[in-house]
Symmetry: C2
Subunit: 206 residues, 2 copies
C-alpha cells in the first residue's frame, strides 16, 4: 500500500506546475479541435484532471485564454532571445540571422494552426489583438536593430530600418502560410533559399 493513497494514480501538484500544464493542454486542444472547439472538459480530459480544477485556477475561460496568449507570446519571445549573434563579425552576424530566420526549426517552433486560431480570435477580442501586436512590435524592433548594425558596418546601405523590418516580417509571415499549403517536402529547401535571397534583396532596397 502506497504512502499516499490516490484515486487516479497522479500526484497532487501545486499551482506553479499545474497552471502551465493546463495552459499547454489548452494550446494542444486548440491545435486538434480549433479554438471554439477546445472546451474546458476536453482540456481537462487531456491531462486527466477534473474540469473544475481549471475553473478553480483560472476562474473562467476568458482568463484561461488570456493566459494562453501570454504563453504563446513568451514562447516566441524566448525564441527571439535564443538567437545567438554576439561575437560574430558584422558579415557573419547578418548571415547567421538570415540562416536562423529561414531555418526549418524556426518556423516550426510556433505551430501555425495555433497561430491562425489565435489570430482569428484576435479579430473579435481587442485585448488579444493588443497582445499579438506587442509581439510583432518586439520582432520588428529586433530586426530593425540588426539591420541598423549591418548598415553601420557598411554591409548594406543605410535605410529606413523599421520599414525594411516590416517588409521582412511580411515575407516571414507569408511564408508560414504558404509553405504549409504549398511547398512539397522536396521543394522546401529550395523555397527557403528563395526566401533568404528575397530577404537579402529587401535589405538592399530603398
Amino acid at each position: 500500500m502506497p504512502k499516499t493513497s490516490r484515486k487516479n494514480g497522479r500526484q497532487r501538484q501545486n499551482a506553479e506546475i499545474r497552471k502551465p500544464e493546463i495552459v499547454k493542454s489548452f494550446y494542444q486542444t486548440i491545435l486538434e479541435r480549433g479554438f471554439e472547439g477546445a472546451s474546458i472538459a476536453k482540456v481537462a480530459a487531456r491531462i486527466n484532471i477534473h474540469p473544475s480544477l481549471i475553473l478553480h485556477y483560472f476562474g473562467n475561460k476568458e482568463n484561461l485564454t488570456l493566459e494562453l496568449v501570454d504563453y504563446v507570446i513568451e514562447e516566441y519571445d524566448r525564441l527571439l532571445r535564443s538567437v545567438e549573434l554576439e561575437g560574430l563579425s558584422p558579415e557573419a552576424r547578418l548571415e547567421r540571422l538570415l540562416e536562423i530566420i529561414w531555418s526549418r526549426e524556426y518556423y516550426e517552433k510556433i505551430h501555425i494552426a495555433g497561430s491562425f486560431s489565435l489570430l482569428a480570435v484576435s479579430f473579435r477580442r481587442p485585448r488579444i489583438q493588443e497582445k499579438i501586436e506587442g509581439l510583432y512590435n518586439a520582432f520588428r524592433r529586433f530586426l530593425a536593430k540588426e539591420i541598423q548594425k549591418a548598415a553601420d558596418a557598411g554591409i548594406i546601405e543605410q535605410q529606413d530600418t523599421v520599414r525594411t523590418a516590416a517588409r521582412i516580417i511580411t515575407l516571414i509571415e507569408g511564408a508560414r502560410h504558404f509553405r504549409h499549403l504549398f511547398v512539397e517536402k522536396n521543394e522546401c529547401e529550395q523555397y527557403n533559399q528563395d526566401m533568404k535571397a528575397a530577404t537579402r534583396m529587401m535589405m538592399q532596397m530603398q
Copy 2:
C-alpha cells in the same frame, strides 16, 4: 390583409435563392463568432429562418462547411477573373497587375478573419485543405502566366516563373496578415507602395 399570410413576414424562397443565402450567413457568422462558434442556430437566426431549414437543405453541418469553402473559393476566383488586362501594352499590363494586387480594394475582398478561420480548420480537414490548395494553385498559375508575358516582351528577365509567382504570393499573404495588425491607416499607402516595389524587385531576381 395580405394575399399570402405569413408568420414571420418573409417570403417563401426556392432552394436556388435560399441555399446561397444560408452559406453567406454562415460566412458572416464565422466572421463574428469564429468557426466553431458559428452554430446552425445562429446562422439561422441571422436570416430569420428555422434552424431545421438549414439541415433540410444541407443535411448536416459538414456539408454546409464544404459548400462554404466552395463559395469562398468561387469569390476569390471571380476576383481573379475580374482583373482586366487585355488590350494593354506589356508595360502597362504589368503595371496594372501590380496596381490591382496592392490595392486596398483587392485585399479587403476576401475578409482576413474568415480566411484565418478556414485555414485553421483546414489543418484538421484534408478535404478543405485540398480545396484551399486548389485556390492557391489557380492564383499561382495566373501570376506565372503574367510574369511569362512580361518576360517574353523583354520587360523583365526570363526566369522560373512558377518560383517567382510563389515568392509574390508569399508576400501577398504575409501582407494580409501583417497589414491588419500593424499598419496604421495613414501608413497604409506607404506600406502598399513598399510592397509593390518589393514585388517588382522579386520579378527581377533569379
